[in-house]
Amino acid sequence: MRRSVSKAVLAVALMFGMGTLAASQKDTLAGAQQKPETMEVKIDNFSFGPGTLTVPVGTTIAWTNRDDIPHTVVSTDGVFKSKVLDTDDKFSYTFSKTGTFSYFCSLHPKMTGKVVVQ
């Protein structure tokens, strides 16, 4: 049940994100300052959801661990590295450069994810 709720929240977050993204692009076109965005990644059942996120430069991503086991969020290239996240702990990182950022959980390295910054 927890999973489906998180998916619903995520879907809403995504729609909201896309909506504001479109709006902010319009603002940018109009010369207004771009508002920083925050996107959410949930850790559920030893996996990152969504596993791949494509975001504009300046986006902050917030990871939340919803498992009963601690996890970490560690960039494969050493760009960012969280402390250990116990249940419900969060880690945020703001992406100020374009590129593809692969990451994983250093405790359970089968858990991998990707952020594409455009």
Partner: protein, 322 residues
Amino acid sequence: MAGKLKDEILHDHNHDGIDRRGFLKCMAWAGTGAFCVMTGGVLKSYSLSGLSELDPKAAAGELSFVQISDSHMGFNKPANTDVAGTLKAAVDKINAMSAAPEFILHTGDVSHLSKPEEFDTVDQILKSANPKDVFYVPGEHDVLNDDGKQYLERYGKGSKGAGWYSFDKKGVHFVGLVNVLNLKAGGLGTLGQEQLKWLENDVKHLKHSTPLVVFAHIPLWSIYPEWGWGTEDSAQALAYLKKFGSVTVLNGHIHQTMQKVEGNVTFHTAASTAFPQPGPGKAPSPGPMKVPDEQLKSVLGITDVSYVQGQHALAVVDSSLA
């Protein structure tokens, strides 16, 4: 001696991979206790009810030690809200054993979050165990945030590298390995070249007849790579052990008992003293498994290992805390 037992089950493990039939039988007994003797690559398992018929000298052994694993001190989720209590129950079980074990092996995840007070609590509880010596290897939960610095300060005295070491007891050579550090994205447990080199040198000059016990947190055999239950460079480590007539590999990490015999090598994983995890692929993830409160102690346990000199056989006995 063994042939007289009525409920003997013989498994011939001459092929690669897990013997599913034998594995399931061993699993079926995990709750009640199984007794497994390995001789020359053949595993003989007995239910505990048949133990009284066994030669008492063989059952007592000349060297007996006990393995505990995955105490996860600090864990407080529904799967077990009292991990200190169940660790104490494990110590009570050890203290009640008729053949007193000489020492304890802890195969890692001593703590849940590498907090000093979690390690302190485990140290305190283990002080009440009759065997005073405890030998550790780290689990991934013991090396959080500092790449194992605190772990080494507490338990790594006299060890090499990230905490690997060896020692001898009554003619048996023990090797503690570390496979929970520097894990790579998408990968499994890792020993690394430095440790493998050390292992090669450590066992090089031993007689082939020396019984070996190798212990590490993550299984050194491929149990379920999809959940990370394996060590990517374990094959190289095992290649160095090939020449030995009796090798027993003891692991933790998967919070359930499993056994496999391959040639002269017996692989065994111990139950946790804290909480069970699902069987391979039996749940969406390997997270803690909640069982009814009254069943919890039946899925937690300790492992007793005995060696009888000259017999080339190490007996591995799992018993639950129930």
